[in-house]
């Protein structure tokens, strides 16, 4: 079963509302063409639906973006874990350390 978060639901709802607004505008313009009227402005209901859908979508994105964290590590309270963040001091452990150093080079056959 697919789990969707509240933020994901909000975003999807907002985007669905925007798509619905698009169809509403298309229908409105078709109605204007049938009645041979010029397009001047969108009706208030469509504008309201557009604004609400936009706000809901942006709210979902705001929550989906996640929290932000403080990047400054003050002098007090530092621990040993920060050593892994200093890339100049990072060490790598791999199987090459098990190989002897005096391996003769391969001779061509």
């Amino acid at each position: 079963m697919v789990r969707v978060s509240t933020a994901g639901l909000l975003t999807l709802s907002g985007l669905a509302g925007l798509v619905h607004t698009t169809f509403a505008v298309i229908q409105y313009r078709q109605l204007l063409k049938l009645s041979q009227e010029e397009f001047e402005a969108l009706p208030a209901t469509i504008v309201l639906e557009l604004c609400i859908s936009t706000i809901v979508a942006l709210l979902g994105a705001y929550i989906l973006a996640g929290p932000i964290k403080v990047i400054v590590m003050p002098a007090k309270g530092r621990n040993m874990d920060i050593g892994s963040l200093r890339t100049d001091l990072v060490s790598f452990n791999m199987r090459s350390r098990a190989m002897p150093l005096d391996i003769p080079p391969l001779q061509p056959h």
């Binding site: 936009t54 994105a61 400054v72």
Partner: protein, 113 residues
Amino acid sequence: MAPKGQEQSKIEDLINPVAYKSNLQALNFLRNFVAVVAGIFVGICGVVGWHGFVYHFLAQLACVVAMFLKGCTNPTSYFATWNNLLFFGVFSSTTLLSYILFWMIFYNICHVF
């Protein structure tokens, strides 16, 4: 011993690169999403002309407000510099072109075809 009156050298604070990258990713995601939604909004409204880009920059400014709402009381503690918070990703091709793409698509769907 250091002579009296000599100022102590300032110990620079370390910056956590994981948190820095995470903050910039959050800002970048929000900027791209806001650009898409703003393009859709402007396209449905039927905005044409160069002044349509004003709405894009207004929407990007809203991302700055969103970061303040997330708790970014001091931008230098979360994004290192003010420039990062104000301008990171605003003029990137992804954001601008996404805005233009969705603006064009939804304007064409609603008002042309």
